[in-house]
C-alpha cells in the first residue's frame, strides 16, 4: 500500500494556518512564524486575576509602552524554542571547553593578583546581578502582550540564570571545586561599597510594576556594565597577561552582543509605532531620566572600585565612555537620554 501511495501526487490544500496567511500572504510559513504569531489568547477571558483584579489575564496595560499590533515586533534572531536551545547548548559547551582549558593549564591560578581580585570581588558577585536580571526578564515573559514580545524575554531569563551559573562555575573552579569563593562573592554583593549602587538599583527594579520599564532600565546597566567588564577589561587583560580573564570575558561579551539585538529592536518598535510612537518616546525618555543616571552611577562605582582596589588606570574613563556610547546608541533608536551622560 505504501508503494502505491507514493505513486500519487497529493497536493496540499493549504499553505499554512489562516492567521499566518492573513498576516504574511498565502505561502508556506517559516517555523519561527508558526511558533510565534497569534499564539497568545487575546479576548474573552473568563475571570479576573485575584492577584490583580484591575487587569485581565493578558493585558496590554501591564506596561505604559504600547504596540498597535503586538505582532508588528519580530525577534531579529527569529528564536523559537528549538533554535534557542540549540544555540544555548553550543554556548554552554563552548564555555565548558574554555573552562576546561583554563583548569588544565591552571590559568586562573596564574592570573596576576589584581586581576584575580577583579574576578573574585567584582565579576563573580555579578552572579547575583544576573539572577536579579532573570527575575526582571521572566516577569516580562509573563506580562508582555503577544508571543513575539514575551518569547525572547523568556529566553533572556533563561540566559540570565545561565550566566549566573557560568559565573558560579568560575567561582567553583577558583576554589578548586569548593564553595568559598562563592560565599565570599555573596558577601561582596551584599556589602562591598563598590557593588551597592548596582544592587540597590536591581532591587528597586524588582519592585517596579511596569515590566517594560524594568527591562529597559536593566538594559541601561547591562549595556554599560558588559562594555566595561567584558569588553574593555578583556582588552586590557590581553595586554596585562591575564589570559584567563580574556578567555572567560569573551563568552559574556558575545552573549550580550546577541542579546541586545532583540531588546533594541523592541525599543525601535515602540518608538516607531504608528499610533503610539510619540507617547512611547515620551515614556521612554522619562524612563531614561529616572534610571539612566542610576545605571551610570552603578557602573561608574564599580569602575572606581576596580581602579582603587585593582589599580586599574583605565576603568573610570572606560565607564564614562561606555555611558556616553550607550546614550548615543539609545538616542538612535528612540530613547532620548539627557541625564547621567558624562560630558
Amino acid at each position: 500500500m505504501g508503494y502505491e501511495l507514493r505513486t500519487k501526487v497529493v497536493d496540499p490544500k493549504r499553505n499554512t494556518f489562516t492567521y499566518l496567511v492573513e498576516r504574511f500572504g498565502d505561502k508556506p510559513a517559516s517555523r519561527y512564524q508558526e511558533a510565534s504569531f497569534n499564539i497568545q489568547p487575546v479576548e474573552n477571558f473568563h475571570y479576573r486575576p485575584t492577584w490583580d483584579p484591575a487587569h485581565a489575564i493578558y493585558d496590554a496595560d501591564y506596561t505604559a509602552l504600547k504596540l498597535t499590533d503586538p505582532y508588528s515586533y519580530t525577534d531579529p534572531r527569529q528564536y523559537y524554542y528549538t533554535p534557542y536551545v540549540a544555540n544555548a547548548a553550543e554556548r554552554y559547551e563552548s564555555f565548558a571547553q574554555t573552562l576546561k582549558y583554563i583548569e588544565e593549564r591552571r590559568l586562573l591560578d596564574r592570573l596576576p593578583e589584581n586581576w584575580h581580585l577583579v574576578v573574585t570581588d567584582f565579576v563573580i558577585p555579578l552572579r547575583h546581578y544576573e539572577s536579579g536580571a532573570q527575575l526582571i526578564s521572566v516577569n516580562a515573559s509573563r506580562f508582555a502582550f503577544g508571543t513575539t514580545v514575551e518569547q525572547p524575554a523568556c529566553f533572556a531569563a533563561f540566559d540570565r540564570i545561565g550566566n549566573a551559573q557560568l559565573l558560579s562555575l568560575v567561582g567553583l573552579s577558583i576554589a578548586g571545586g569548593a564553595s568559598e569563593t562563592l560565599t565570599e562573592a555573596k558577601k561582596n554583593w551584599l556589602y562591598s561599597a563598590a557593588l551597592q549602587p548596582l544592587r540597590r538599583m536591581i532591587e528597586e527594579l524588582l519592585v517596579e510594576r511596569d515590566w517594560a520599564v524594568a527591562l529597559i532600565a536593566l538594559d541601561f546597566i547591562d549595556s554599560q556594565l558588559y562594555q566595561l567588564l567584558y569588553a574593555h577589561l578583556d582588552d586590557r587583560a590581553l595586554y596585562k597577561g591575564a589570559g584567563a580573564y580574556s578567555l572567560l570575558a569573551r563568552h559574556f561579551n558575545d552573549w550580550y552582543g546577541g542579546h541586545k539585538k532583540w531588546l533594541r529592536a523592541l525599543v525601535k518598535a515602540w518608538a516607531n509605532d504608528p499610533d503610539h510612537g510619540d507617547a512611547n518616546r515620551t515614556v521612554m525618555a522619562a524612563i531614561a531620566d529616572r534610571w539612566y543616571p542610576r545605571a551610570s552611577e552603578a557602573v561608574r562605582t564599580i569602575a572606581a572600585g576596580v581602579a582603587e582596589q585593582a589599580g586599574s588606570t583605565s576603568a573610570l574613563a572606560a565607564a564614562d565612555r561606555s555611558a556616553a556610547e550607550t546614550a548615543g546608541e539609545l538616542g538612535k533608536i528612540g530613547i532620548t537620554v539627557t541625564e547621567g551622560v558624562p560630558v
Binding site: 490544500k13 492577584w51 521572566v138 569548593a178 519592585v207
Partner: protein, 505 residues
C-alpha cells in the same frame, strides 16, 4: 579537591544565587504569596524536585529536539499523513491542537509568573524550567500538526477558535480559572492536580492512540513532551508535600483546592474520554480501563495513602467520577456528535465493529442506553438526514460543557443543579460543579459562556452561519458529518487504487 555532590553543586548554582533584598521591602518584591492563606515558614526546606543545571538542560533538550524534528520532517516528506489508520483519526488531533496546545502556552506564561513571584529560589527555578518547557510543547505541537493542516480541515485557525468556539471555552476557562487564582492555588491546580494526578489520562491516550493509529510524528512529539512532563510531575508532588509540611493550617486550604481541581480537571478530561472511545479508529484502551489503571490504581490506591499521612483525603466527588466511568465517554461524544455543525471537527456514527467494541467495553451501559441512540442516528442518516441538535444547549456555569451529564448511576436522567447568587440563577451539571461555584461565586459569575454570549449578540451575529464565521470555522469543511466531509472525500481519492503509476516520485 573535594567534588561537590550533585545536590550541593546544584544548590550553589540555583538557590544560592538568591539574596534577601535590603534596599526595598522583600514583601514588595514578592507581593502575591500571602493573600491566599497559605503559610510558608521556611523556603529552604524546599526539596528540589530534579537537579538539572542550565547547561545540561540545554544539552538534553537540544538533543531531544534534534531527534524530534528529524522525525517530523521525515514523516512530512514521506507523506506520512497518508499512512495513518484512517482520516477520521485526525479529528482527535484537531481537538488536541484547538484544546490542548493553547493550554501548553498558557502554562508557559503562568509558570513565568511563578518563576518571578514565588519567594523561594528553588521553587522559582523549577518553575522557570517548566515555563520554557511548556513553550517547547506548544511549539512542537504546532510544528508537528502543521503538516496535517496542509491537507485536512479543522487545524487552520486553532488559536482564534480557542478564544471563541463553544467547546473550547471548556479548556480555556479551566486554565483561566487556575491563572486567575493565586500562585499556590495555581500550583495545586496545574502542577499537582493536572500534571501529576490527571496527566496520564490526558497524554497517554493521545500518544498511545497516535502510535496505534500510525501517526509517528504525533507519537514522537508526545513522548518527547512527556519526557519533560516527568519533571513537571515531580514538581507537582513536591509542591503539595512542601505546602502540607509547612503549616498545619495549610492542610484544609489545600484539601479544598484538591477537591476543586480534581473535579475541574475530571470534567475537562471528559473531552478526552469521548475522543478515546470514539475518535480513534483503532482503539488503544477504553476510557474506563484507562480510568481504572491510571486514576484508581495509581492515584487513589497509590498516591492518596501517601497524602493521608498529611491529613489529606481523596478528592470530594471522586466517587461520582468512578460511577461515571461506565458512561461519561458516551455522554460527551453524544454531545459532540449532535453539535458538530458548530465544531471544527467531524463526527460520525461508530461502525458496527466499533459498536461491538463499545458493547464489550461497557457491558453495563452501552447496549442498554447508547447503542439505541446510535442506531437511531444511523437510521436518520440512512434516510438522507443527519441528526443535529437544532438549537443551542444549556451550559454548566462552571465547567461550561453542555449539560448532558446525568444523575450518578442513572444514565437516563439529566442532572440539573442550580444556585442563586445575588438574585440570579446559575445552572450546573453536577454536584461537583455546583460546589465549586458556591465556594467562589464572585469568580464564576464572570464566566464567558458561549451560548449566552451568542444570545447577547457578541459573537458575530444572530444566525448560525454568522457565528461560525466569527469562530473562524470554514463551513462545510471544518464542521458537520465525517462521512460527507471533504476530509473523507480526499482520503478516499488519495487511497483509490491507482490505475497507472503516476510520476516517478
Amino acid at each position: 579537591m573535594a567534588k561537590l555532590s550533585m545536590k550541593e553543586r546544584y544548590s550553589l548554582l540555583t538557590r544560592d544565587l538568591d539574596w534577601t533584598p535590603t534596599y526595598v521591602d522583600p514583601k514588595d518584591v514578592y507581593p502575591y504569596t500571602r493573600y491566599e492563606g497559605i503559610k510558608i515558614h521556611d523556603w529552604d526546606a524546599w526539596e528540589d524536585p530534579f537537579r538539572l543545571t542550565i547547561d545540561s538542560y540545554c544539552k538534553y533538550q537540544a538533543e531531544k529536539d534534534k531527534k524530534l524534528y528529524a522525525v517530523i520532517d521525515g514523516f512530512a516528506q514521506g507523506q506520512g499523513h497518508l499512512s495513518v489508520a484512517d482520516a477520521r483519526y485526525f479529528n482527535s488531533l484537531k481537538l488536541f491542537l484547538q484544546g490542548v496546545t493553547p493550554l501548553e502556552y498558557a502554562a508557559h506564561r503562568h509558570f513565568a509568573y511563578l518563576a518571578r513571584h514565588l519567594d523561594g529560589p528553588g521553587a522559582r527555578f523549577a518553575a522557570l524550567c517548566q515555563s520554557i518547557d511548556e513553550l517547547r510543547h506548544c511549539q512542537t505541537e504546532i510544528h508537528t500538526l502543521s503538516q496535517f493542516n496542509k491537507y485536512y480541515g479543522g487545524f487552520h485557525d486553532w488559536s482564534r477558535m480557542h478564544d471563541r468556539v463553544w467547546y473550547l471555552s471548556v479548556p480555556k476557562s479551566f486554565f483561566d480559572d487556575g491563572i486567575s487564582a493565586g500562585p499556590f492555588e495555581f500550583l495545586t491546580a496545574i502542577s499537582f492536580s493536572f500534571e501529576y494526578f490527571l496527566t496520564n489520562l490526558l497524554f497517554v491516550p493521545f500518544m498511545s492512540g497516535a502510535s496505534f493509529n500510525g501517526d509517528l510524528a504525533t507519537m514522537t512529539f508526545g513522548f518527547s513532551a512527556q519526557s519533560d512532563e516527568s519533571r513537571h510531575m515531580t514538581l507537582g508532588l513536591e509542591v503539595i508535600k512542601f505546602m502540607l509540611e509547612q503549616d498545619e493550617g495549610n492542610v484544609p486550604i489545600i484539601q479544598d483546592w484538591i477537591d476543586k481541581w480534581f473535579w475541574r480537571g475530571y470534567r475537562l478530561l471528559g473531552l478526552v474520554a469521548g475522543m478515546m472511545d470514539y475518535m480513534l479508529p483503532k482503539k488503544v484502551m477504553s476510557w474506563k480501563e484507562a480510568f481504572e489503571l491510571y486514576l484508581e490504581e495509581q492515584m487513589l490506591n497509590g498516591l492518596f495513602p501517601d497524602l493521608e499521612f498529611y491529613g489529606v483525603r481523596p478528592p470530594r466527588h471522586v466517587e461520582q467520577a468512578i460511577i461515571e466511568k461506565e458512561y461519561v465517554s458516551h455522554q460527551v461524544y453524544w454531545i459532540l456528535y449532535q453539535f458538530s455543525f458548530a465544531a471544527a471537527f467531524n463526527t460520525t456514527v461508530p461502525t458496527d465493529e466499533e459498536l461491538d467494541w463499545l458493547s464489550a467495553s461497557y457491558p453495563e451501559t452501552f447496549d442498554r442506553y447508547y447503542r439505541p441512540l446510535w442506531e437511531k442516528a444511523r437510521r436518520i442518516q440512512d434516510g438522507g438526514g443527519r441528526f443535529f441538535f437544532q438549537g443551542l444547549p444549556q451550559l454548566c456555569q462552571t465547567c461550561q460543557i453542555p449539560m448532558g451529564f446525568t444523575e450518578p448511576g442513572n444514565p437516563a436522567e439529566i442532572a440539573q443543579r442550580h444556585s442563586e447568587y445575588k438574585g440570579e440563577r446559575f445552572n450546573f451539571c453536577s454536584d461537583g460543579c455546583q460546589w465549586i461555584f458556591d465556594r467562589e461565586p464572585e469568580k464564576y459569575v464572570q464566566a464567558w459562556l458561549p451560548v449566552h454570549q451568542i444570545y447577547q449578540g457578541n459573537c458575530g451575529g444572530a444566525t448560525v452561519p454568522e457565528v461560525l464565521d466569527w469562530y473562524g470555522i470554514e463551513q462545510g469543511s471544518d464542521n458537520l458529518e465525517y462521512l460527507t466531509s471533504p476530509d473523507k472525500a480526499s482520503w478516499d481519492e488519495w487511497h483509490a487504487p491507482a490505475a497507472l503509476p503516476g510520476g516517478g516520485k
